[in-house]
Symmetry: C2
Subunit: 721 residues, 2 copies
């Protein structure tokens, strides 16, 4: 009995001893840092070097701490840090980076781990950003470079204030496989952690604060919003030029061409040197393309072939393990960075290459360095894995920044802290629906994602895929393996061309949306849940277990809306997928109008859209203003003037802030940009009128003439063609 | 420049400083323990309490350390322990517990984590035993209760003696996505580890040593090898009895009945109390079944309903988190064990229940306690997860041992250390082929597995499934949800009955096979790779990447033999699956004979077997002796005598060690068993003859008459019916 009590005392000790105080700091208006234990120095923010935009954060106001601080608790246990954040009944959770199948995250268990996406939303993804927002209007960011175990409202604690109720599975129809949980619980494998709380009061504002705290989104060079074709991996210099000419002659827009692995003398691992047979005169090619207003992007992965010129120089800085027998530079070390990027600068950037596609910085485990690898900086393999995507984005974009040239490239991995990098994430997974879900989720986590088109089983699928890249951060065909062209499916070649031209036409709208991302933190592509008036929650079957026979514990998947999203301030995009003749669209409250005709379609209801092959269903909210330009084959160059066509939809007077700058440099960071206020209103004659404020003196002003189109006044004909 | 060198020195320091000496100890003949750093006290062997069988290990001989010790290295890094073991070219790896799809493990990456099997062999499985053997004839066991990261020959190190070669993916057809790796690398999240090396020289001997080091396999009570039916979850007492009677009247064998959750007043979480409506007189039921020679097994999961009698008593010993709102007892604490099992003993074991089916001790994450949970013992949630299956097996089987009664039950999780527990693993996954692969893999890791039949889409599938459970450690139908009976598919009801009777007929063979498991560590069910003369290696396509378009990194799956296995000393089982009219069978070198007819079928070749609906293809190696008894409905009871029918196959004279004991108690541990030597040889008259040595005085001797059947002398007719 004595033994019993001594145990008991010991137990109480174990349970109590490790609770830890959280140190709070108000780091910016609406942003609080909590620190627990000894947080590691190398984290997502130090790896990315993200610099908060305090000016923009201040503009957003000074809301109070969005919950009761004493509901947040943590402790050290088993050499790790445990963090607990509260949830209330009905509170929905979104975020945790680039998920491909689900939007609602409450109840899910994730191990955030940078990786190739393996077909399950389990935290292994290209950008498993440890940031979430909830429908209660706040955000939480765990600034850790470790693999994080997240229980997003799945664990039920004995000590809960709202404990789950024990029911009888034998006969109680209310029994559930997933009892109630009142907390997000996180395990950080480190002796401490710092984390941030972002106030709302709306989810969108919490996200804006997160994005601005990370420096705001990038503004791509204007050409980055044009069309891009990635050519076959074994193309040579002549074929690249011929392809550019073919786009021109066929009348398809083209702003930049991407070269795939074959531009190098050897790849996987890489020499980073032009292949002398396929690309004997790269500088000439760059100039010839430039003359056609076309930029050039180069595929790389970062792993160094023993045959690379600088292989030996970098030897002290390689990790213990190789990737495809290539050495892995420890890019967290300044000396390694300097030695490594020197070649890129000299051989690619200075001669005029416009950007990179940085492959294979995500995973998967079978190819990347293992978790047992060591790095000369002393960082753990896990930390390197979580941040390598950030490091290559930061360091490569700096090469262009040093030339005061913007870049816009592709990358396969990112993480928290990477909001401001001018990179769009892509991967090898190719499920069209899941690509759209990823696009939706990207907006919760400060990410950009392209649902690239590569090839298709049918002309219909080709067109449907193409329609969605046009409504994404990067309008791209990746033909590295397939050699597909926009016109490869003759049955839809004209429809594809029209879509590509629509992308160009909408460039002013997209450009302003990205400026909103940069200056206000508003994601250009984002979930319906961030749109006010959208209240639909996931629908679950009452009995969550599907099949007692085949798998008695398989849970039914809750139905949620994973296939429609907001693009820019006013557009609701509801893609059609191959084989679909019609689809339903959930309209938030407020009047909505057809993008192509201006016709009213509904208000706070679920409508059915009859599909047209040549159109992707797009809807505009009441008062939506879409500034467009004439269709063109290339983005306007620096100082090039263009005419504006301003489209207004619906019955509401409204306004739109039109952004402009030189389109290619970082001068906007020094104030060389303009915001011009577009207003649409009804005059005393009850006729729609529009006005635009002048550009301020010395500020960019590229607009020549303006045409106003009041769509809902129209005859229902499509004036966008 | 100075900075550069200081970095360089620092780096060398980081790389060198943490290498760690391994302390070696020869713990038993052919078994060595290596210790690195401070190994944790709570590990798989302390959790399971496994006691090595030194006598049997000594009998196996004293081979030398099976490799060069200096090829094994390790170090502490990032607060974890890193272990590296060598591989040579062509060396194949097997093991790592209950994998369902693959047998060869070289090149794979696993995170060993007790869990529900999720359809991928990634280390998350019901028994992710950290033990592997290689074709070089040795075994390695990591005695850790942590989640282990295993790189089983996948990482390529810069410092390798056999480094992978950098090739050019652009144009070199020899380029591979998976370059050569010369080591197994393991990350143990602890400040040290102990691990064991088991000598061969054959793989089977290494496995025998591993099994014997863990105490040897269990010998089930004789009834445990009979047939078992798990009845519908809401059956009441009368229905159970009626079912037993129906088996009897229809002539189907039945040795034990399993009750599913509805025997309890409440389940998920559990009261562990008989439901007063469905089971008003459990002791009477137990007696009525006993009178019919039928035992009773009870389903449980370990989680305690607040309505359980002892809920409050155990309060100091619950973990922080609940499972279906049930409390999780910390069964690593002796006081908790005593309080917890008291009820089981009093209410179930003492009244005569024969065993348990212990569910839900595996996962998955959505239901089990999260990794953030705390336990009063101070063990981490992760340690509890890895060992809970061991704890419940050990503690529940002890209840029966205390009564000197053997038990034979089911469990959903096990781990290294659990070899000797009388439990068979099962799960909810229901792919028939994968179930057979699991059966094959179970033999590499000291596990028993049943490919239980539950229900089927067709009569053919029902029969095919039934045929495989008959050639497995537990011949079971689990009708908890389906209420299926052996005769539920009338088209095959007779064939099913014949199979069930064959199981009974073969009982002496199975019983001796389990005795070999116990006394010599030879797995009763095991892979072809453990059979001498089987040399087939997996066949891989040259270009391992399958589809550049849909997923350019998807690897082709290597073809390996995952559907045939050895059962007992002489039988090769090659199941047919629903829809198969024929199949190929890989015969090891040596002559092989058809089980049913004794006809020669081949030698070291791949044969095609034309399927018969009523037979599962089984082959016997040359000289194979299969001792059988007459078909019967229940296993012989204690002291019950029976006739033996000894079948001999092929051309080779041979012998077989026949085991016998009282069939129900642990008296065999005190020497109360007999081994009788069966010999088959050709007499001077060139006629086959058989002999059997007498049982020693005072040793069990249950055999009455013996009939000899020389199958290959026969007329090709099937005498087994």
């Amino acid at each position: 009995m004595k033994y019993f009590y001594s145990w008991f005392l010991f137990l109480s000790l174990v349970f109590a001893s490790t609770a830890q105080e959280i140190h709070w700091e108000n780091t910016a208006p609406g942003v609080w840092k909590g620190t627990l234990g000894e947080a590691e120095k190398y984290n997502l923010l130090t790896a990315s070097g993200a610099i908060p935009n305090f000016t923009a954060l201040t503009k957003l106001g000074k809301p109070p701490f969005p919950m009761s601080k004493d509901k947040i608790s943590g402790r050290l246990q088993d050499g790790k840090t445990y963090l607990q954040l509260p949830l209330i009944k009905g509170e929905e959770i979104y975020g945790f980076g680039l998920n491909f199948k689900t939007i609602h995250q409450r109840g899910r268990i994730l191990r955030l781990h940078v990786d190739h996406y393996g077909g399950q939303d389990n935290g292994r993804t290209h950008a498993p950003v440890p940031f979430y927002v909830t429908s209660e209007g706040y955000g939480v960011f765990i600034n850790s470079s470790r693999y994080l175990d997240i229980y997003a409202g799945s664990g039920s604690r004995l000590d809960s204030d709202n404990p789950a109720e024990a029911l009888d599975r034998n006969t109680d129809p209310l029994w559930t496989a997933t009892p109630y949980s009142d907390a997000v619980e996180i395990l950080i494998p480190a002796k401490g952690v710092e984390f941030y709380i972002f106030a709302g009061p709306s989810m969108l504002e919490a996200i804006q604060r997160f994005n601005l705290f990370n420096g705001g989104g990038p503004i791509p060079p204007r050409w980055g919003l044009g069309f891009t074709q990635r050519v076959h991996r074994l193309y040579d210099q002549k074929q690249v030029l011929a392809e550019a000419e073919e786009f021109e002659s066929k009348g398809y827009p083209l702003d930049f061409i991407g070269l795939e692995p074959g531009w190098q003398s050897k790849s996987y691992p890489n020499t980073f040197a032009w292949d002398p047979t396929r690309f004997p005169h790269p500088e000439k090619l760059i100039q010839q393309l430039k003359d056609k207003n076309i930029s050039l992007n180069l595929w790389i992965n970062p792993y160094v072939s023993p045959e690379a010129d600088f292989y030996n120089t970098l030897k002290p800085y390689y990790g213990s393990h190789t990737v495809w027998a290539g050495a892995v530079p420890d890019l967290s070390i300044p000396e390694a960075q300097a030695l490594y990027w020197k070649t890129f600068n000299k051989e690619h950037v200075l001669p005029g290459v416009s950007g990179y596609k940085i492959d294979e910085v995500d995973g998967y485990d079978r190819w990347l360095w293992p978790d047992v690898a060591r790095f000369p900086s002393g960082l753990a393999a896990e930390q390197m894995r979580q941040t390598y995507g950030l490091l290559v984005q930061k360091q490569s974009s700096q090469l262009f920044r040093d030339q005061n040239r913007r870049t816009y490239g592709l990358v396969r991995a990112s993480n928290g802290g990477g909001v401001s990098f001018p990179y769009v994430i892509y991967n090898d997974y190719y499920d069209h629906r899941d690509f759209i879900t990823a696009l939706i989720n990207s907006g919760f986590s400060g990410l950009l994602w392209t649902p690239e088109a590569r090839a298709s089983k049918s002309a219909e699928e080709w067109l449907r895929r193409f329609q969605t890249v046009v409504f994404s951060p990067m309008a791209m065909i990746n033909a590295w393996a397939s050699n597909t062209k926009p016109w490869s499916y003759p049955e839809v070649a004209e429809e594809v061309k029209e879509m590509a031209l629509l992308r160009m036409k909408m460039m002013p709208y997209w450009y302003s949306a990205f400026a909103d991302y940069h200056f206000e933190g508003i994601p250009p592509f984002r979930a319906m849940q961030l749109e006010s008036g959208f209240t639909l929650k996931p629908q679950g079957p009452k009995n969550e277990l599907t099949d007692l026979e085949e798998n008695p514990y398989e849970e039914a998947i809750k139905k949620e809306i994973t296939d429609q999203y907001m693009a820019g301030p006013s557009l609701l995009v509801a893609p059609l997928f191959a084989g679909e003749k019609s689809r339903s669209v959930v309209l938030p409250k407020g009047n909505w109008y057809d993008f192509y005709t201006g016709i009213y379609v509904g208000n706070g209801e679920i409508i059915t859209v009859e599909g047209r092959l040549d159109q992707i269903p797009v809807f505009v909210k009441d008062g939506g203003i879409i500034p467009m330009m004439k269709s063109r084959l290339h983005a306007p160059g620096k100082g090039e003037r263009y005419d504006l066509e301003i489209f207004h939809y619906g019955e509401a007077p409204s306004h739109f802030s039109l952004y402009d700058d030189d389109g290619i440099s970082y001068d906007y960071e020094k104030g060389h940009y303009s915001w011009r206020e577009i207003k649409v209103f009804k005059g005393s004659d009850e006729q729609w009128k529009g006005s635009i404020s002048p550009a301020k003196a010395q500020k960019p002003n590229n607009i020549e003439n303006i045409r106003w189109v009041f769509m809902t006044e129209g005859n229902g004909k499509n004036p966008l063609k």
